[in-house]
Symmetry: C2
Subunit: 257 residues, 2 copies
């Protein structure tokens, strides 16, 4: 369903807190939308634990496959923060103490009046040749090496790092979307929807049924493509299909809801 000119990215979420169910992930949606906005398609997400072999294997599998790879998590000062050394090993590069990062961490420690200890200085370790991703919130930077962008897992910190990174990403045309919702049941529209998909072979057309606690059910059809005119035409055809099947279609220009 997807065109082949897309610029594709993967996200690696590193950390036991998502896999244990402790933490509701808040980063995937944000990163997906921000990447969409600069014409980069998030094509795969892997959530993996703080285990060295798994991080190395995953980084290497995905950096070979995608234009950009983003990681979140595991760059703090504690024993479970092993992302920097694992990424260095994945690239077969030495882990060095980055002098610019030391300066940033020293400055922040002075401002906050906290001790500059070895644990905090560990956050200045990067693979040799990495460039820093600045972080105005907690001071300790992320870094970029090759096509891999290593960011914090704390959502507020990740967001400022992603803002630093976005201007340098070279995306394709941004993907636009349209959503049409009605109470027409998915099972009645399926055949017609397949025919619309056949007419727009490179459009991503998804069908999402909903069942609300009040007993209301229906279907949202989401169309994604770079061309607004094509999207509007397809959305009208979907709306007509909904009307044929007893629905009163409501349009939304973006697929956010």
């Amino acid at each position: 369903m997807s065109g082949d000119q897309k610029v594709r990215a993967a996200l690696i979420v590193i950390g036991n807190e998502i896999l244990s169910g402790r933490t509701q992930d808040a980063n995937i949606v944000h990163i997906a939308k921000e990447l969409n906005g600069v014409g980069v398609t998030l094509s795969e997400v892997r959530v993996i634990p703080d285990i060295e072999a798994e991080i190395i294997e995953t980084v290497n599998a995905l950096r070979a496959r995608y234009t950009y790879v983003f990681t979140t998590g595991g760059i703090g000062p504690t024993h479970d923060d092993i992302t920097a050394e694992c990424v260095a090993k994945a690239f077969d590069l030495p882990l060095i103490r980055n002098h610019e990062a030391v300066g940033l961490i020293e400055k922040r420690a002075k401002e906050r009046g906290v001790e500059l200890n070895e644990s905090r200085l560990r956050m200045a370790n990067t693979p040799e040749g990495a460039t820093l991703i600045y972080n105005s919130i907690s001071g300790a930077p992320g870094f970029k090496i090759g096509n891999v962008y290593v960011m914090a897992g704390v959502p507020s910190v990740m967001r400022v790092m992603l803002e630093e990174v976005k201007p340098e990403l070279e995306g394709g045309e941004p993907t636009l979307s349209r959503a049409v919702t009605s109470q027409a049941p998915e099972g009645l529209m399926a055949e017609g929807l397949g025919l619309i998909q056949d007419d727009y072979p490179d459009m991503d057309i998804g069908s999402y049924p909903f069942y609300r606690p009040d007993g209301l059910f229906g279907t949202t059809i989401v169309m994604r493509h770079a061309d607004a005119a094509q999207l509007d035409k397809a959305a009208e055809e979907v709306a007509a299909l909904m009307r044929e099947n007893g629905g009163k279609p409501e349009f939304r220009d973006t697929a956010d809801d």
Copy 2:
């Protein structure tokens, strides 16, 4: 950090709606917690698009590696619902029309007074030899083949399917957890925390800093292990470390927050 006797599972989230940022995932946390409760550790999550080759490759990679694999999404009646045929191909089994599933879908169509068309009957297709996972909400079942459990993506439907599946899962000892939170900075506790981890080598000890919009910052330490007494002892040591570093520790018996 993790013991080797754990029963491990992976989750494959199939669907463009998470990757596009349209939908905030609500299934990972729920499945992680429910599996924890029956002694199964969620060890990896992959979010992948509705693309046949990717689904087949991912199912085969993960079913070889984990005791249980769960999938969510892609089992409805529309053209973008391709999970059943992909799982059949992954197992190299024919896709058949499951007679029991046809009966369930016919029954629900009669109850709702909707047409029983070919699109709806597609939801009765399973790999040959699959057993059904019942679904009291929308009628159309999921299925199990080998160690792979194929469930719906709609959270309310996924939840009733997971309830059907849980009694047959053979887990290890449930993983218990303790969380201790204070304003002691992660960077001051990191060395002491590493020493505590050394004393409890098979305990999963995670450090999670927080930065709140009101300027409050601090750290939550989460400990996960099967033995409550060990957890309580480690939690007291973490609390002492926090007090040494200016924090007033607060305990929680579960890591949920």
